[in-house]
Symmetry: C2
Subunit: 228 residues, 2 copies
């Protein structure tokens, strides 16, 4: 029974790794459409999206059965709960990749904007944050999780810079407003991908250390009070 | 033991209702700053945000203990898992209210835009979606949950209309670009609040009917395959 449970936990981790790899592929494909101005790069995205959605439903069912059948200890229970939350985050960040793709396709119909280079940098960082957060989660690597948290500030800063640049362009070049708004929204989509990666990294710390780092809870001297 | 578990489930529901009421108050306060041009209306928001964050951490711990101590049946387990997810959604939509407030405060420094009336309508709908989704969850009211799902399309449509209006204004009135971008981003924040309310409504259906309606899974003829 013990051994079987460990195998199922390993299976759960493999499912998360596969799901995350698909989502990362979706981000990279959507950004490639924008940067390389190559519409065909986006073709795998809809199929991947369906697969990611299916995987989330399956992971939730798998976690429910793991809990119901094995009545895991507090530590394992925490890990399983964190796994279902991480799967939700992967599913939602994959939705953001779809949103990037829609705007990228529309942007192909107008002249490229110089600010696209900033978007490419943001996407590279967001994609790395996802990969690192997921690996921190399955390997229970708190150090790597903390690095992801730091990089989220960097991504937000990059978003602010490109937003200011795009607002300046819109004021100076009314004909560029439509495409500048689309690019500004792509920057927000990438910021949200980084937010979800950050959530996964926080789930790692929560699962491993048994305390909650969300909302800067690390500043709180006491753990949350026990339920009555 | 049975009775104690039922009391704890009731306690969990009360916690979610209180958390959601705070978040709804935050949305309404932030939008009032924008619409009534009254900065003082936003004063309760930071305190509410801290409280919402604390409540989410406490609800997660409470759910972990409920599962560990009572080893609930599959149906109750599903409800508890859905409750932790709903608490995450409430926390994240409260963050969106904070984002609305930041932009509302900045918008007070420039002349009001006519499109603000659209934002007021969107906020009223988003706020009602949150209230209805939460009540559908705690009362296991699938009919009311389905109404929330329908209203999400309406909110998205309102966001598209105001986005188009704001883009037209930016093209015609370069001096209004900065405030029009802020208002456009407020519309996105409200859309995201509606998305989180929709997630809560989906959690209701998942918890009550034991099947997954996310990703239009209602079109799938078979339930998800059991875990191996």
């Amino acid at each position: 029974m013990e051994r079987h449970f460990d195998e199922q936990l390993a299976d759960l981790k493999h499912r998360l790794v596969r799901m995350s790899a698909l989502a990362e592929h979706m981000i990279n494909a959507a950004v490639r459409v924008l940067v390389a101005r190559d519409a065909s790069a986006g073709e795998p995205v809809p199929g991947h999206e369906d697969e990611v959605n299916r995987m989330q439903i399956d992971i939730d069912e798998f976690c429910l059965q793991l809990i119901a059948l094995h009545q895991p200890t507090a530590g394992d229970l925490r890990f399983i709960l964190a796994a279902t939350k991480s799967a939700s985050d992967i599913e939602r960040l994959a939705d953001q990749a779809v949103n990037v793709l829609k705007k990228a396709e529309r942007l192909l119909t107008s002249p490229p904007l110089a600010e696209t280079a900033r978007i490419e940098e943001m996407a590279a960082l967001a994609s790395r944050m996802l990969s690192d957060s997921l690996h921190s989660f399955v390997n229970r690597d708190v150090g790597r999780a903390r690095e992801v948290l730091l990089r989220d500030d960097q991504l937000d800063e990059m978003k602010s810079v490109v937003t200011d640049e795009l607002i300046a362009r819109m004021g100076a070049e009314p004909s560029a407003v439509v495409s500048a708004v689309d690019l500004l929204l792509v920057a927000r989509n990438l910021e949200r991908i980084g937010d979800h990666a950050t959530n996964i990294a926080e789930n790692t710390i929560f699962a491993v250390e048994g305390r909650d780092v969300r909302h800067h809870a690390e500043d709180r001297p006491e753990p949350p009070p026990p339920a009555p």
